[in-house]
Symmetry: C2
Subunit: 383 residues, 2 copies
């Protein structure tokens, strides 16, 4: 039986690499449904190659264009956020790859969990915003959540066959991004174009900026807390510029287990799709011999205050990680649009965290309201 | 229920460290039986501290001394190789730590497997000499064999929860020993005293010399082949002077999993005793931050021909690994006694492998005969 896959955000970096994995394993996987935010041309192309049952575009204004382009095909063509949330619950679907960008991933991921679909989670904002609700839901509906992020996949792989209660700490590695060796002064003047040049990973624009500012790593700390049931102070970030050790776990007996590999997202994607199996692949291998050496250093919280803010948000708990995420989405976009400086992003976020109403035990509706409030506050600070 | 432990070779390096683990976890473990080859004083001391039911000395000439020293204690005092093989089959014993040195470990390990005792295997010669028979026996008697060697423990830990059929290759790390950077010329004149100074591990004399000559690594290749059911050409030796990555496994999907830690044998010993659990410990931790960098290089088979000979022995199969081990035991002792040079050890072993009768499908009796024949041939070459 082929696994039927739904890909949310099929035209993005994770989405297209998921399709690479499907393309390489036609006997294992079938694309049942795909969705994109606005990349309608790419979505049409993907629909013509993979023949999904459902194709969905989030931006409803693009529906007509999509519909007429796929008129000769038997697939259903849908549009809008509600349609995406419906799509993931379709009975034939086995796995939902949640690879949408940002807060938009939350709602369809919750719908997929409720429908009992295995979640291959690439959208880390989902866990950042509402980790507690997501974890409770997953327990309630016995839905497995498999991480797609290379770091969380590495941790997950290191924990296979182990008892999570034996975790001493999680060693979350970070490439350090393009500004790892920049001075604070240099960082004040960096441009979006500079930040978009990531040394090791080829990713979407939003996450590449988050990576350069280390907010991405802060989100990963929060995500790891929820995925693996540890306290935030059991998660240590290690800057590892070679991006070969994708992350590690230290157990209570002192043993460290790590997962290593070449920086290639297709590996964690494939693992999430095939778990607990491992399929042969022709992905590039990490060659420890040619690599010569692996180094590890502490992150500099002076130059990368976003990481400190993320620890602060998860330490305060409640709706604070949601506020962190909302403020960051606003600041990240403002920086990409040249409306604020690189380090100003952190100021906007810190200020938003200070000003947004704190809610200790938020409901889903509280998260929606906090997200909105935080975005408004963050936007006020942008010129 | 406390686990009842028998330790073969309790006065050696692994034996005393096993007792350290027992001492630190008195609610988990009880020492039921201990044996030593000739270190009678240390054995008496251990008997007085741990109150085992049975104390056994391999060298029968030391029986009277042992017996009279323990006269006031209720424990049984035995002597001789046959007594050790009997001892391990006693019904109360749960785990047998096989930490004898060399070929002598084979017979009692086989007895323990037949008695269905969990084997914590530190004696790698057992697997080198008769891996096929040992594995067949373990399957037949459903006896788990848990590796104690840091490298094999690391591989075992990396494989927990994984399918052995998904192994692409095993990356067996080696410290490179004290002569890693020596020239071939320098190696011709090294002394036993120099070879006994291992940079990272504190071990017994025989294994320290094997480590300096890389025969230890050759044995580990053979042991890994049998323990993990892979072909010898799926095992790659990587020289890793920091001894932090204790070994790794590359899977067919390209993922590498590794176990890292400070060089401390108590960790793999404890893991073998507690598997699948992990107990909290105060063993020193590996700190990736203070360590700064990890390096990997290819072993030099010109300067370390023993590693080449080990691959040759396992490639030829049959009794050749047994011959390799016997010749090495003779050469290793001769070197320690100043009767041959460091590089001459390899010549003796190669010559013995060439001259000893090859048996493709040896029985246990064939192994005993091959061992004897090889020792005679090897001894003839020593002045």
């Amino acid at each position: 039986m082929k696994k039927q896959i739904a890909i949310l955000g099929s035209t993005g970096s994770i989405g297209t690499q998921t399709l690479d994995v499907v393309r390489a394993n036609p006997d294992r996987f079938e694309v049942y449904a795909i969705s994109a935010n606005r990349s309608v041309d790419k979505l049409i192309e993907q629909a013509r190659e993979f023949h999904p049952e459902v194709v969905c575009i989030a931006d409803e204004s693009l529906y007509d264009q999509l519909q007429s382009a796929l008129e000769d095909m038997p697939c259903k063509v849908w549009a809008g956020a509600a349609a995406i949330a419906d799509m993931v619950t379709m009975p034939s679907i086995d796995i939902v790859v949640a690879a949408m960008v940002g807060y938009a991933g939350l709602c369809p991921t919750m719908a997929a969990i409720r429908a009992g679909k295995t979640i291959a989670l690439a959208n880390k904002e989902t866990m950042v915003v509402a980790g507690e609700i997501i974890c409770d839901l997953a327990r309630q509906y016995h839905t497995p959540i498999l991480p797609v992020d290379s770091e969380h996949s590495a941790i997950f792989q290191s924990l296979v066959g182990e008892d999570c209660n034996a975790i001493d700490k999680i060693l979350l590695t970070a490439s350090g991004g393009p500004f790892r060796t920049f001075s604070l002064e240099q960082m004040q003047t960096v441009t979006a174009a500079q930040a978009l040049k990531h040394p090791n990973w080829d990713m979407g624009a939003k996450i590449t900026i988050d990576s350069a500012s280390m907010m991405n790593k802060g989100f990963e700390v929060i995500e790891a807390k929820w995925l693996f049931g540890v306290n935030y102070d059991q998660i240590e970030v290690l800057v590892h510029p070679q991006s070969i050790v994708h992350s590690a776990v230290q157990f209570k007996d002192g043993a460290i287990k790590a997962q290593l590999g070449a920086p290639d997202m297709r590996l964690p994607i494939q693992y999430a799709l095939t778990f607990p199996e491992r399929l042969p692949s022709d992905f590039p291998r990490a060659d420890l011999l040619t690599l010569k050496n692996l180094t590890f250093e502490k992150p500099d919280l002076e130059r990368f205050p976003n990481l400190r803010l993320a620890y602060e948000a998860i330490a305060r708990g409640g709706n604070m990680p949601c506020v962190l995420n909302a403020a960051n989405e606003v600041a990240n976009l403002a920086f990409r649009e040249g409306k604020c400086g690189f380090l100003e992003m952190s100021e906007i976020i810190a200020d938003t965290m200070a000003k947004t109403t704190y809610i200790q035990k938020p409901t889903y509706e509280d998260y929606v309201a906090s997200d909105k409030e935080a975005r408004q506050i963050a936007n006020l600070q942008i010129g």
